[in-house]
């Protein structure tokens, strides 16, 4: 099976598993079972009626902004474990909002690439909206609000906001400037995703920022056989995340989609958990002896 087809099937399966309570859309109810205490590795709003798991970014802010705690060891430990094992493989293969963005990108139109500096915005959003504001901007009881969810997250507006306001007249009656702002961000994000591959992942996603930083040391990684590589540049040209796999195999932007490995004429690029470098080094101990 072709890598692109396999990836799409896994993305759809992951989307289906993490949003399996479709029947809840009719009454605008939320799933309230025990699975909701566990985090989804990808970005998926827990206020979506179909959601099975908790959004890790929402959960991190909820715990940090609660009265009892100011830091979530559970969510940070979870993200660290997932990030060290898989890196941004999660973004490329599992994230529900990643799949949605890729579907919008399929709309025929002229496609554009973003300047590199846009990719740094997500680190600022992670620091300010996910880490600092929920802890620092508290009310008289010492409770903070999930600032990223409140002011930015288009996934929450799409999966939770639209469904909930459509099914609850009392919620619809309370919509105001904030809802308009979030709808605006959602519309801009969707429009941008038609022209730019995974615009949200590249520029705004704090979860992508965390996994991106861990891409550098993740067990699942990308390797380039420099001896086999003929520097044709096809991999860099194919990459929709604007990464040059030869120059930066473990770039924070690489979502491990495998498009570069599929297009390499010399099969010099491989993705996996095992390191060929270490295997080769172990198999050839005499190679470095004088």
């Amino acid at each position: 099976m072709k890598n692109a087809v396999k990836r799409k099937l896994i993305q759809i399966a992951a989307f289906g598993f993490t949003n399996s309570h479709i029947g809840n859309f009719a009454g605008g109810k939320l799933y309230t079972g025990k699975w909701k205490q566990f985090c989804n590795p990808g970005l998926n709003c827990y206020s979506c009626p179909a959601a099975t798991l908790a959004c890790p970014i929402g959960a991190m802010q909820a715990v940090a902004g609660s009265i009892q705690y100011h830091f979530s060891f559970y969510v940070v430990g979870f993200l660290l474990a997932v990030g060290v094992l898989f890196g941004r493989l999660i973004c490329g293969w599992i994230c529900p909002f990643g799949l949605v963005q890729e579907l919008f990108y399929k709309i025929p139109s002229r496609k554009f690439r973003l300047p590199k500096w846009f990719t740094y915005i997500k680190y600022g959003i992670l620091a300010v909206f996910v880490i600092v504001l929920p802890i620092a901007a508290t009310n008289y009881m010492g409770m903070g609000k999930p600032a990223f969810c409140q002011y930015i997250c288009p996934s929450g507006t799409l999966f939770g906001g639209i469904a909930m306001t459509a099914t609850h007249p009392e919620l619809r009656a309370t919509t105001g400037l904030l809802f308009a702002l979030k709808m605006g961000i959602l519309l801009v994000t969707i429009a941008a995703c038609v022209f730019i591959f995974r615009f949200f992942c590249k520029t705004l996603c704090p979860l992508g920022a965390i996994y991106g930083l861990l891409n550098k040391i993740s067990v699942y990684h990308l390797e380039v056989d420099k001896n086999a590589c003929i520097q044709c540049g096809q991999c860099a040209h194919t990459c929709k995340m604007d990464v040059d796999p030869v120059a930066a195999p473990n770039s924070a932007e690489c979502i491990r989609c495998g498009a570069c490995a599929a297009v390499c004429p010399k099969r010099a690029i491989r993705l996996g958990f095992r390191s060929e470098t270490s295997t080769a080094a172990q198999n050839k101990p005499s190679a470095e002896k004088p």
């Binding site: 939320l30 909701k36 559970y74 409140q150 919509t175």
Partner: protein, 53 residues
């Protein structure tokens, strides 16, 4: 090759240390009841998340 092997060893060391740290954080977080906080937030409509809060 020696440099590559060193780099690889360093990487594995980092990974091991990070995984150990994550396991400790997970265990501590769960032991102090963070799962319940997450569940409480996730099973109720999050007004902030949907743009009303």
């Amino acid at each position: 090759m020696t440099m590559q092997r060193l780099k690889c060893k360093k990487r594995i060391l980092f990974q091991g240390a990070a995984l150990l740290l994550s396991a400790l954080m997970l265990a501590y977080g769960i032991s102090r009841g963070e799962l319940e906080t997450v569940w409480n937030k996730a099973v109720n409509i999050c007004l902030e998340c949907i743009g009303l809060g």
